[in-house]
């Protein structure tokens, strides 16, 4: 590993989150935005399971991050940042649903019965916000592109990225498993990501709304 990697506790993405939180609390909004970019999909997916209205999902996700930003100084790192964020998102969504139930006409949302507030509620054959035909197609295309890129990777790169992304192993554990230096692991994972990214990025550009 190069000099860039200073071992302060076990190097994990969670530690990276905590460091980003520290920077955000110190006033670095960009650091917080990196956390938003990282977790936005998971938060929207979570809220999308509770709320079916497309605009409301995004509004609640925005509200979740705003509330997290305001309360960021209270995050002490006892739990993972995503766990903390997850709880804020769930409670923000529940509060929005309660408000929605009180004044359904004010939101222009129809068909929101009390049963809909159940996090596990799912009407049969009904698409949620995240499951419009366009988004389903886009998601399928991205998944196919990622899988095709994975298949096309050299074995050592594929193995490294699988151990990292799917198995969740640290660089040290991957180095031990693959019997190579940590710097090699880092390089293999980066090259694998770049190869997959080269296939995915043009798709993101061409999808409606320009994802990035």
């Amino acid at each position: 590993m190069s000099d860039d990697s200073v071992p302060e506790g076990e190097p994990t993405p969670a530690n990276s989150d905590h460091l980003l939180v520290e920077r955000a609390v110190a006033g670095d909004q960009r650091a917080f935005e990196l956390l938003v970019i990282k977790y936005q999909r998971r938060i929207e997916r979570l809220i999308g399971r509770m709320v079916r209205d497309v605009d409301l999902v995004e509004d609640i996700a925005q509200e979740t991050f705003i509330r997290a930003w305001r309360a960021l100084h209270q995050f002490r790192g006892d739990a993972q940042f995503y766990t903390w964020l997850y709880r804020i998102a769930v409670n923000t969504a529940k509060k929005a649903l309660m408000d929605l139930k009180r004044h359904p006409a004010a939101y222009g949302v129809n068909g929101a019965s009390s049963d809909d507030e159940d996090e596990t509620y799912r009407r049969e054959n009904e698409q949620t916000t995240e499951e419009t035909p366009e988004s389903e197609l886009a998601a399928r295309e991205i998944a196919q592109a990622v899988n095709a890129a994975m298949d096309a990777l050299p074995e050592d790169l594929r193995q490294a990225v699988v151990l990292r992304e799917i198995e969740g192993l640290s660089y040290e554990e991957i180095a031990e498993a693959m019997a190579c230096p940590i710097g090699t692991v880092r390089s293999r994972i980066f090259r694998a990501r770049e190869a997959i990214s080269a296939r995915v990025r043009p798709m993101l550009e061409h999808q409606s709304g320009k994802r990035w």
Binding site: D4, E8, P11, P13, N15, S16, D28, Q29, F32, E33, L34, V36, I37, K38, Q40, R41, E44, R45, L56, D59, A61, Q62, E63, I66, R67, A68, W69, L72, H73, Q74, W84, R87, I88, A89, V90, N91, T92, D99, L100, R102, H103, A106, Y107, E130, S135, E136, A138, A139, I142, I166, Y171, F190, R193, S197, V200, R201, L204, E205, G209, K210
Partner: protein
């Protein structure tokens, strides 16, 4: 540093520019950052660079997207990632910043989610429509509290008043010196005599009351009836001899 442009996202031109050695180095740092492998100076420098480099942020986004999709294909469905972050960024700039100096405070995520400073469009509408319900009015709460105190006082006062009435009634029904008419005989003239607390009255009246006792007990006016009964029995010593059968 070459950049894809702040608002332009990933493009072919930017793709050509970012294939520079410097861009590759930054992206490698971003990859390591995504895996939590950077600390200290390297971490700070990379985050600093990412803040102003759209291509670096795009790499950060795509690397995490790849990981999310590998773990769950459902996580590839969000469609407005960049717009979402841009909108949030604008809102964050309007915020006063992360509060500081409240280190002792540690609210739960539930409290954070339910705090009053709600900026959801929903909540704004909701608050407006609920204004007439007096929920947020301090004066209304004061009035409600005052009404409660007044009601409690009224109930207490009425209870006390009942007890005062009972005491008054008890005083009124206490034995007093009674003036009764003493007759010399069934047809004799009446004579009024006051004899302190001792009840002296016409024996004929006692006889009459004794003969009609069954009516006294069934009266709807219990107190006078009771008095009459008591008077009947309490004055036995002063009664004259009764005729058999009376």
């Amino acid at each position: 540093m070459a950049s894809g442009g702040k608002g332009g996202g990933f493009s072919r031109q930017a793709g050509e520019q970012m294939n520079t050695e410097e861009q590759l180095k930054l992206r490698e740092q971003v990859s390591a950052l995504a895996d939590g492998q950077l600390h200290g100076v390297a971490f700070a420098a990379t985050v600093e660079q990412l803040g102003g480099d759209e291509d670096g942020r795009a790499s950060w986004h795509v690397y995490h997207l790849i990981g999310d999709v590998l773990r769950s294909s459902e996580l590839g469905t969000c469609q407005h990632d960049r717009d979402f972050v841009a909108r949030l960024s604008a809102r964050l700039q309007a915020e006063p910043g992360v509060p500081r100096g409240l280190d002792g405070l540690h609210e739960s995520p539930e409290l954070i989610a339910n705090s009053d400073r709600n900026t959801l469009g929903i909540a704004k509408i909701d608050r407006k429509s609920r204004a007439a319900a007096n929920d947020g009015s301090y004066r209304w709460k004061m009035l409600a509290g005052l009404a409660t105190v007044v009601a409690a006082a009224a109930i207490g006062w009425s209870g006390l008043g009942d007890r005062s009435g009972e005491a008054l009634l008890a005083r009124q029904s206490a034995p007093e010196p009674v003036k009764v008419a003493l007759g010399a005989g069934p047809t004799g003239g009446a004579e009024s005599v006051s004899v302190g607390a001792v009840l002296i009255r016409d024996p004929h009246l006692d006889g009459l009351l004794a003969a009609h006792r069954q009516f006294g007990g069934s009266s709807a006016f219990q107190n006078p009836s009771g008095f009459l009964r008591n008077a009947t029995f309490d004055t036995g010593a002063s009664r004259g001899p009764r005729a058999p059968g009376q």
